[in-house]
C-alpha cells in the first residue's frame, strides 16, 4: 500500500489541496457576494413577497378574530343565520376595526368575492354607535359617573392580581388588527378579579386601552373608553354574580344589574343597519374566506371561485382569464416565429457582409432600439390606422377602395406587427453573434464536395446557427409574454394580453392577490416552457455568441 502523499509542509496532500480549493471558492464567493446580496435584496425578496400575496389572506381573521371563531361552529349548510353570539362577536370586532379604519379595507377585500360587501362594511362602520347606544344611554342615565373615563379605569385597572393572559391576548389582537407593534408600557393592566367577573367588558376595555396607548399615544387613565364598552358590560351583568365583589364601582355595578341594563339584540340591530346582514350571503363569504391562507386567488386566476361548497366555475359571462392566458402564449409564439423569419436573413446578411457595410446595417438594427418604446408604438398607430399612412398609400395606388379601408390596428394583427418590430433586435443580435462564429470554409467545403447551395445551407450552416435561434427565441418569447404597453395601445379588444389584466388588478382594482396569482401562473408557465425547451433542444445549445 502506498504511503500517504505529503505536501511540502507535511500535511497530507489531499487535505492541503482541499483547503486550497476551499479558500479559492470562498474568495470567489466573496467576489460575487455584493452582486448576490444585491440580487437577493432588490429582486428575489420583493418578488417573493409579492408572489406570496397570491395565497396570503390574514386580513379576514386579523380584522374579525372573534367572528371567525364564532362562525366556525356555524353550519352553512343549514338554512339559518349565524347565532346571536356571532352577531355579537361581529359587533365588537367591527367596532375596534372601524376605529382603526380597517373595516373598509376588509370590505374591499371581500368585495372581490361578493359584490356589495364594500359598501356594506363602509356604511355599517358608521352606524355601530347606534347599536352601542342601546346600552350606553341607559347606563349614562343611571349614573353620570359612567360617562367618566376615570370610573372605568379605576374599575378595570389591576389592584391585587393582573390577568396577564388577557393582556397578552389583547395585545396580539390589536397588533394583528393594526399591523403594528403594541408592546411597551401602556399604563394599564386588567384586574384579575374584574376580568373573571366581567369577562367581555374587561376584554373590550383592555383592547381599547392598548389601542389608545400604542396607536394614539394617549394615556388610557385620562381617556373615556369607546361606547362599545357599555353593551359589553350589559352582557356581562346578565350573568355576573356580584355578591362577593367589593372593589371600585361595586355599588354602581349592582345598581346597573338591578336596573337590568339593556343589551342590544345584535341580530336585529345588524339587520336594521343594513338588511344584507340578515341574509346568509355576507356570512358565507366571511366564513369561506376566513382562512389565513387561501386558494381563492388562484381559483379566480383560472376563472373559478371558492365557494362554501368548494370550487366552482365563474359564470360564463365572467370567464376571461384562461382565454387571455391562451392568447398570450399563442400570440407570443406567433411574434417569436415572425421575429425568426424576419431576423434570420438580416442576421445572415450582417454576418456575411464586409465589416463596413455590416456596421452600418447593425446601426440600422439598433436605431429603433434606442427610441422610446412609446414613441415606436405610437408610430405604428400612425402607420396602421384607417386614415393612416399604409391605408392612404394603398388607396392612392388603387389597391383598396376609399370606403373600405383595411382594419390593421386595434386587433391581433396590430399587436403582432408592432411587437415583432419592437422585439426584432432581441432576435437579430444573438443570431448575428452566433453566425459570426460559423466558419465560411465549412460552406465552401460542403459545396466542393458536391452539395447544392440549399443542401450546404440546410445541412451545414443552419444546424450551426440553431444556438442563436434558440437564444433569440427564448429572449423574444419571454419578453413578449410580459408585454402590456404595446398591446394596450394597439391591441384593441382582441389583441390584449394577460399582462394587461395584471396591470389592471395592480393599479385599478387593487386586487393584488389576484395579480400575484396571475403573475405566479405566468412565471410557472414560462418555467415549464423553458423546461420543455431544455428537453427538446437542450439548453446547452443556447449561445449568445
Amino acid at each position: 500500500m502506498a504511503e500517504v502523499m505529503l505536501a511540502a509542509d507535511g500535511t497530507p496532500l489531499k487535505r492541503s489541496l482541499a483547503r486550497a480549493l476551499r479558500r479559492q471558492k470562498i474568495r470567489a464567493l466573496g467576489l460575487i457576494a455584493p452582486l448576490l446580496l444585491f440580487v437577493l435584496i432588490t429582486f428575489i425578496i420583493p418578488i417573493g413577497s409579492m408572489l406570496f400575496r397570491s395565497v396570503e389572506n390574514e386580513i379576514v381573521s386579523n380584522t374579525l378574530p372573534y367572528t371567525v371563531q364564532a362562525l366556525s361552529s356555524w353550519d352553512a349548510e343549514q338554512d339559518a343565520l349565524p347565532s346571536e353570539d356571532t352577531f355579537q362577536a361581529m359587533f365588537f370586532d367591527m367596532f375596534i376595526a372601524a376605529e382603526a379604519k380597517r373595516h373598509t379595507r376588509l370590505g374591499t377585500r371581500l368585495n372581490y368575492e361578493t359584490t356589495g360587501l364594500s359598501s356594506l362594511f363602509r356604511q355599517s362602520g358608521r352606524k355601530l354607535d347606534d347599536i352601542a347606544d342601546v346600552s350606553y344611554e341607559p347606563l349614562e342615565d343611571l349614573d353620570k359617573a359612567w360617562d367618566d373615563g376615570e370610573t372605568w379605569y379605576a374599575l378595570m385597572n389591576a389592584r391585587d392580581g393582573t390577568d396577564e393572559s388577557l393582556l397578552a391576548e389583547q395585545r396580539g389582537r390589536v397588533a394583528r388588527l393594526t399591523d403594528s407593534e403594541t408592546l411597551g408600557d401602556i399604563n394599564f393592566a386588567p384586574d384579575a378579579e374584574v376580568a373573571a367577573l366581567l369577562p367581555l367588558a374587561a376584554r373590550e376595555y383592555t383592547a381599547w386601552a392598548i389601542y389608545v396607548a400604542t396607536q394614539d399615544g394617549r394615556d388610557p387613565a385620562a381617556r373615556d373608553p369607546w361606547e362599545a364598552i357599555a353593551p359589553a358590560l350589559a352582557l356581562d351583568l346578565q350573568t355576573a354574580d356580584l355578591s362577593g365583589y367589593d372593589g371600585p364601582a361595586a355599588d354602581m355595578l349592582r345598581a346597573a344589574q338591578d336596573a337590568n341594563l339593556p343589551a342590544p339584540d345584535f341580530t336585529a340591530a345588524f339587520a336594521e343597519i343594513d338588511e344584507d346582514w340578515g341574509k346568509r350571503v355576507p356570512w358565507e363569504t366571511i366564513k369561506t374566506h376566513s382562512g389565513k391562507f387561501t386558494s381563492g386567488y388562484f381559483l379566480n386566476a383560472v376563472d373559478a371561485q371558492k365557494t362554501a361548497d368548494g370550487m366552482a366555475w365563474q359564470p360564463e359571462n365572467k370567464q376571461i382569464l384562461i382565454t387571455l392566458f391562451g392568447r398570450t402564449i399563442w400570440m407570443s409564439m406567433l411574434i417569436m416565429c415572425s421575429c425568426i423569419l424576419l431576423g434570420y436573413p438580416i442576421a445572415w446578411l450582417l454576418a456575411n457582409l464586409p465589416m463596413r457595410q455590416a456596421n452600418l446595417l447593425l446601426i440600422l438594427v439598433l436605431l429603433p432600439f434606442w427610441t422610446s418604446l412609446l414613441v415606436r408604438t405610437s408610430a405604428w398607430k400612425v402607420m396602421l390606422q384607417q386614415q393612416g399612412v399604409i391605408n392612404d398609400v394603398l388607396v392612392w395606388i388603387g389597391l383598396v377602395a376609399d370606403d373600405n379601408r383595411l382594419i390593421i390596428i386595434n386587433n391581433q394583427f396590430g399587436t403582432i406587427v408592432s411587437m415583432t418590430h419592437i422585439l426584432l433586435p432581441f432576435m437579430i443580435l444573438p443570431m448575428y453573434s452566433v453566425m459570426q462564429t460559423i466558419q465560411p470554409t465549412y460552406l465552401r467545403a460542403a459545396k466542393s464536395l458536391g452539395a447544392t447551395n440549399w443542401t450546404a445551407f440546410w445541412r451545414v450552416y443552419f444546424p450551426q446557427s440553431i444556438p442563436g435561434i434558440g437564444a433569440g427565441s427564448i429572449l423574444v418569447f419571454i419578453l413578449a409574454i410580459g408585454y402590456y404597453i404595446t398591446p394596450e395601445i394597439v391591441g384593441g379588444t382582441k389583441g390584449v394580453f394577460i399582462s394587461n389584466r395584471i396591470a389592471y388588478h395592480i393599479s385599478s382594482s387593487l386586487n393584488w392577490g389576484l395579480a400575484a396569482a396571475l403573475g405566479t401562473i405566468l412565471l410557472v408557465a414560462v418555467l415549464i416552457l423553458y423546461w420543455a425547451y431544455d428537453k427538446i433542444v437542450g439548453i446547452d445549445n443556447v449561445k449568445l455568441g
Binding site: 382603526a100 379604519k101 380597517r102 373598509t104 379595507r105 370590505g107 374591499t108 368585495n111 372581490y112 359584490t115 356589495g116 360587501l117 364594500s118 359598501s119 363602509r122 365563474q314 359571462n317 365572467k318 370567464q319 376571461i320 382565454t323 387571455l324 390606422q385 384607417q386 386614415q387 393612416g388 386595434n410 394596450e488 384593441g492 379588444t493 382582441k494 390584449v496 389584466r501 389592471y504 395592480i506 393599479s507 385599478s508 382594482s509 387593487l510 386586487n511
Partner: protein
C-alpha cells in the same frame, strides 16, 4: 474617531432640532402629484405659483403619477416611506384611498377656507364632499365630441346618436371600461334616468346594457387615455367619441379642430386633493396649509381661466372670467353651465365601489368575445 464624534453630535443636533421645531413648523419642500398636461399647468398657474411666491423658501415639485396614485400610495405606505405630500385624484380613487386608510381624513369646516361671505366650507362644497378624505377642486364631465364635417346637416343633439349607426355611420370611440358606457347604453335602451343604477345592479340589467353595446361593438375603437379621443377625432378615425370635456375644449378652441360638443347625458365627475397618511408633522402641516389656500374661492375660480373645468365651490362660480390666453368667456364652456347641463348624469360612487370588479369582469369578458 474625532470625525465619528462630530458626525454623531451633528446628527443628534439635527434630530433634536427636527423634533424641537415639529410643532407649528412646516416642511419647505412638497411633492405634488397630478395628471400632467394642460390640467397640471392650470393648477401650477392658478395656485401653486402664487403659493410658492407667498411663502418664501417653499419649493414645489410635480410628479405626474395621478393615474397610478392608488397603487403607488399603497406600495409607499407598505414600505413605510411616503414621498408625496398632496395628491390629485378622481373622487372614486379618493374613496378607495380613504377606505384603505391611505388618505388623511379632513374636517372641511376646520381645515378648509370658508367662502368670502362666511359660508362654511362644508356648505360651499355641499354634496361634492363625497368622502371624508376628499378635498374637491373641479367638476369635470365625460361627454361626447363629434366631427362637424362628417355628421352631415343634422349634427347629433342627444347621446343616443352614439348607438344610431344608420344616421351616423362611422367609428365611435368609447373608454375601455364599463363605467359610463353601461349607463349610456341603458339610457338609450329605454331605461329611465332615475332607474339606471337599480337596473344595472341586477344581472339582467348588466346583460341588457352589454346587449345594447353589442349593437355597435364592431364600430367602436376603445380608448384608455384621455388624449385618444381628441386625436382620433382630429385624424378622422372616428366620427364621435367620449372623453373629458376639457380635452374637447382644447381641441375645439385652442387647436381649431372641426369638432362639436354633445353635452347631452354628460356624466359629472369630481377631481380633488387628498393628503396621504403617514407624513411627518411638518410635512402634514405644509400640505394642509397648501390645500387650504389652493381650494379657496378665488383660487378655484382662477383655475377656470386656464381650463374648462367647473370650480367645485358654489361661491367660485360667479368669479369665473375669461380664458387667460384666448380671452373668451369661460362660463359657457363649463360643464356646469345651465345651457350645457340640461341633461346630466352624476357618477354614482357607492354603486361603482361595489360593482366595479364584478361588472368589469363581465365587460372585459364581453370585449374579448
Amino acid at each position: 474617531m474625532k470625525l465619528a464624534k462630530t458626525l454623531m453630535a451633528t446628527t443628534a443636533l439635527t434630530v433634536a432640532s427636527g423634533t424641537a421645531f415639529a410643532d407649528g413648523h412646516m416642511a419647505s419642500e412638497m411633492t405634488l402629484v397630478s395628471w400632467g398636461g394642460a390640467y397640471q399647468s392650470s393648477q401650477q398657474n392658478a395656485y401653486v405659483a402664487p403659493y410658492v411666491e407667498m411663502n418664501a423658501g417653499v419649493t414645489a415639485v410635480w410628479d405626474e403619477s395621478s393615474a397610478e396614485a392608488v397603487a403607488k400610495l399603497r406600495a409607499m405606505n407598505e414600505a413605510g416611506n411616503v414621498t408625496w405630500d398632496v395628491v390629485d385624484v378622481v373622487a372614486a380613487d379618493a374613496i378607495r384611498l380613504c377606505d384603505e386608510g391611505l388618505a388623511l381624513e379632513i374636517d372641511a369646516d376646520e381645515q378648509l377656507a370658508a367662502a368670502p361671505d362666511g359660508t362654511s366650507a362644508s356648505d360651499d362644497f355641499g354634496d361634492l364632499l363625497v368622502s371624508d378624505c376628499f378635498i374637491p377642486q373641479i367638476v369635470y364631465s365625460t361627454t361626447f365630441g363629434y366631427r362637424t364635417d362628417l355628421v352631415g346637416d343634422t349634427p347629433p343633439t342627444e347621446v343616443c346618436a352614439v348607438f344610431d349607426t344608420d344616421a351616423y355611420p362611422g367609428k365611435r370611440s368609447l373608454e375601455k371600461r364599463p363605467i359610463n358606457n353601461m349607463e349610456w347604453a341603458l339610457l338609450c335602451d329605454g331605461v329611465a334616468k332615475e332607474d339606471v343604477y337599480d337596473v344595472l345592479a341586477t344581472s339582467e340589467g348588466q346583460d341588457q346594457a352589454l346587449a345594447k353595446l353589442d349593437t355597435i361593438k364592431d364600430d367602436v375603437i376603445w380608448w384608455s387615455a384621455g388624449a385618444d379621443t381628441p386625436q382620433l377625432l382630429a385624424d378622422g378615425e372616428v366620427i364621435m367619441g367620449s372623453t373629458y370635456n376639457g380635452r374637447l375644449f382644447a381641441a375645439i378652441e385652442e387647436q381649431d379642430q372641426p369638432i362639436g360638443m354633445l353635452w347631452d347625458a354628460q356624466v359629472f365627475d369630481l377631481d380633488g386633493w387628498i393628503i396621504p397618511t403617514g407624513l411627518s408633522p411638518e410635512r402634514e402641516a405644509r400640505a394642509l396649509d397648501f390645500v387650504k389656500f389652493a381650494t379657496d374661492t378665488q383660487r378655484l375660480a382662477d383655475q377656470a381661466k386656464y381650463i374648462s373645468y367647473g370650480p367645485a365651490r358654489l361661491s367660485s362660480a360667479p368669479l369665473v372670467g375669461q380664458h387667460a390666453e384666448l380671452g373668451i368667456d369661460m362660463a359657457p364652456h363649463m360643464p356646469t353651465d345651465p345651457e350645457n347641463a340640461k341633461n346630466t348624469f352624476l357618477y354614482n360612487y357607492e354603486f361603482w365601489a361595489d360593482y366595479r370588479d364584478d361588472i368589469d369582469a363581465k365587460f372585459q369578458a364581453w370585449l374579448a368575445q
